[in-house]
Symmetry: D2
Subunit: 250 residues, 4 copies
Amino acid sequence: FGIDLNSDVGESFSNWTFGDDAAIFTSVSSANVACGFHAGDPHHIRKTCEAAATAGVAVGAHPGYRDLAGFGRRFIDMDPRELTDEVVYQIGALQGLARAAGTEVRYVKPHGALYNTIVHHAAQAEAVARAVHEVDPNLPILVLPSSEIQRAAEKIGLRPVVEAFADRAYNPDGTLVSRREPGSVLHDLDAIVEHVLRILDGKVHAVDGTVVPISAESICVHGDTPGAVAMAARIRAAITEAGVEIRSFA
Amino acid sequence: FGIDLNSDVGESFSNWTFGDDAAIFTSVSSANVACGFHAGDPHHIRKTCEAAATAGVAVGAHPGYRDLAGFGRRFIDMDPRELTDEVVYQIGALQGLARAAGTEVRYVKPHGALYNTIVHHAAQAEAVARAVHEVDPNLPILVLPSSEIQRAAEKIGLRPVVEAFADRAYNPDGTLVSRREPGSVLHDLDAIVEHVLRILDGKVHAVDGTVVPISAESICVHGDTPGAVAMAARIRAAITEAGVEIRSFA
Amino acid sequence: FGIDLNSDVGESFSNWTFGDDAAIFTSVSSANVACGFHAGDPHHIRKTCEAAATAGVAVGAHPGYRDLAGFGRRFIDMDPRELTDEVVYQIGALQGLARAAGTEVRYVKPHGALYNTIVHHAAQAEAVARAVHEVDPNLPILVLPSSEIQRAAEKIGLRPVVEAFADRAYNPDGTLVSRREPGSVLHDLDAIVEHVLRILDGKVHAVDGTVVPISAESICVHGDTPGAVAMAARIRAAITEAGVEIRSFA
Amino acid sequence: FGIDLNSDVGESFSNWTFGDDAAIFTSVSSANVACGFHAGDPHHIRKTCEAAATAGVAVGAHPGYRDLAGFGRRFIDMDPRELTDEVVYQIGALQGLARAAGTEVRYVKPHGALYNTIVHHAAQAEAVARAVHEVDPNLPILVLPSSEIQRAAEKIGLRPVVEAFADRAYNPDGTLVSRREPGSVLHDLDAIVEHVLRILDGKVHAVDGTVVPISAESICVHGDTPGAVAMAARIRAAITEAGVEIRSFA
């Protein structure tokens, strides 16, 4: 029995560094690498791929809206056909750099506002699924369960890989508590570890105490918050102690 | 016996159109497709690749400096390692879109100031050759004869394909007359046709009348100047009438 | 009695030209000059300001979302405080170039998706009104009647200037027919002239025939569509023949 | 007797923070605020201007090449007329945000590669001087002594303000040792303080021991290097102990 741990990396740009990718690579099995539209320039992207390859971490494409000034965190009301092409472009670019770094793109996980949008926006979800399918129908895509992107991926013949979040609170219906709500992000390390261990058991406790079943193949850990590195290490240790292997799904 | 005709295409961006790619595709055998850094957005790039595929025109990557505001026509004093990664990124992105459009990237031709710089700038020439080699050592690269990029391509094991220019005046040493000099660009259609037919014979007449030998596998025709479409058609007709086949080198 | 004619200009960028600003300047009294975020680079902006100054046309700021790849035509779900600062930045930049060109920014008209959004999005409307007010409380702002931006402008103490559209169909409630609907844009020159003359009389005919009162100080004519220059000239001639003076409101 | 201390600030962008502007403001008298082309987005720029205003620090415009991906540290071979317009645009944008923040742009200091280029590149130096003059002939400009920009500023009627660098080694001819040379940047705090005190005395010791006279009205301290805040505080203390007042030149 195994589980994947994924984290966003490669988000440095130009003279600006972001996160501590090298440290995160000691804990996770999958690296969501920025593709240049919300973060990441070709040189940092390549270095990140090289480091992932060295650490034995699977490289995934982390495409976002073309919005460097907003870090891809703002919804853009794009034409779905244009969105498909923007996602193809980003995955293709990362494939080039990943290969130059001696590795391959193994999966896709959309970033930020794009990730959130395709939970509920059917047209953009279909646009993203189509993009991944056009690049390679064998590329799995990380999804929130019961999302439009999960449905769109299944419909077009992609493999959706359900993920859970290590430090996010859940609603009784299995969706994430909005970041605009108080208590949406867990900060207590012990609570996070308990939450992760429950995910391994196939459930989460919603904010109202409801037990919600979840069947996740991957758990997302954040790499860019204060204490992120320590949190990832702690989560890794707890999972390993529970006798569960941490390994990429891809 | 055959010759290739190549032209820059795919340089529309956002709401701005540039050139008449569809018309140019009736005359040329190779399409240098913008990769997004100096021109071209993913949607226009994809449409261009689809049109090239339909027209039976070979798609080449046309990477440039990251300089949308200058259309890639300004030298940027880049770190060679960063330049390598920027070129890998651009070729990879185009590969993604070309495949989605049902075709493949068959060669590389750098754009604008990058093209001009790697004629004489050894470090940037090596950076570009390394990028192409990292993506695929079988991708040929279009070069000016006797250039640093020709040497760098040969050294790393790429196939350099020498090109001549249909409407540019030559110096006695075989280099192009600088665009800053009067008479650098030929405008008279008859003179251009004569010039092209001489290239087929393995020579050009330099501005001082010197006959300069040149061995070109491809001839570049411009697609963006007034009268470009008519000029390309005229050149195609003249070459065909001379009994020479127009076909891609790639 | 007079009316203003306004048109979008200065939307060339880099090597891409857009519209025929010089020709439009012979017909309009107000020029909505792009500020660089959706279109316009500093050199083209300055040339546009110089041409407007020479033609005696009032310069207005035409700020948009930071979305060159979408020409500012896509809604972006921005933080209102960031939007305020982005609008201040754009107006300030244009003020610098307008003064260097010997003129001044006399008013503001938001562009594209931002214009459409602040018709109904109160928070973004307030953000834009605040930006204009911070730059100069005496700058009027062009608005659609009964819009959130009209309310926000009045509330903060700006002068909203109501405009009508020469070639757009109206709903019975006085709003514009969405561009996604058939018949939203008028193409017949005679129909457009009739429509414009009715606006001078204080009314428009909605798509269902209803007569809708409108009190417009300015009429927007498009500068970028095929036939735009001829349409603007025809509208100018019709207004002048009707004995109404075409003059800037600012 | 007084001296100015200046430092680069406002270089955060999007989700990326850069330097500790608040801490630097406790030591310097002049803030070179990024204008958005090499760093700085409108929201961070405005916050920086507000913090400078609160701290009583003079705001200067810090325009650079349009090169976010290179942080403005790469020479771009721009057309001088376009460079003028790009600098006018940046200063105008900052003026808008500075006024919204309750302060004013009091001087100009070009950034990075642009700063280095106009030491020796007459055409770009004249382009920059012309831009500043067009915005406001009363704006002083910070310059390296004996540079092309000093000459261009004097010629057009601007006030050039000579600056020295707190942590840079000097050549015997008064120029800075290139960053590509070993020993170009001083790291020892005591050596830096000695160097600064000599500048107050009107001289620097070149790398070969030569005593070079320098007449600086301002000293540049870096804000973005490790230990920058402590270094700035130490320099401030040393100058104050020497009985010299730290005050803006503008």
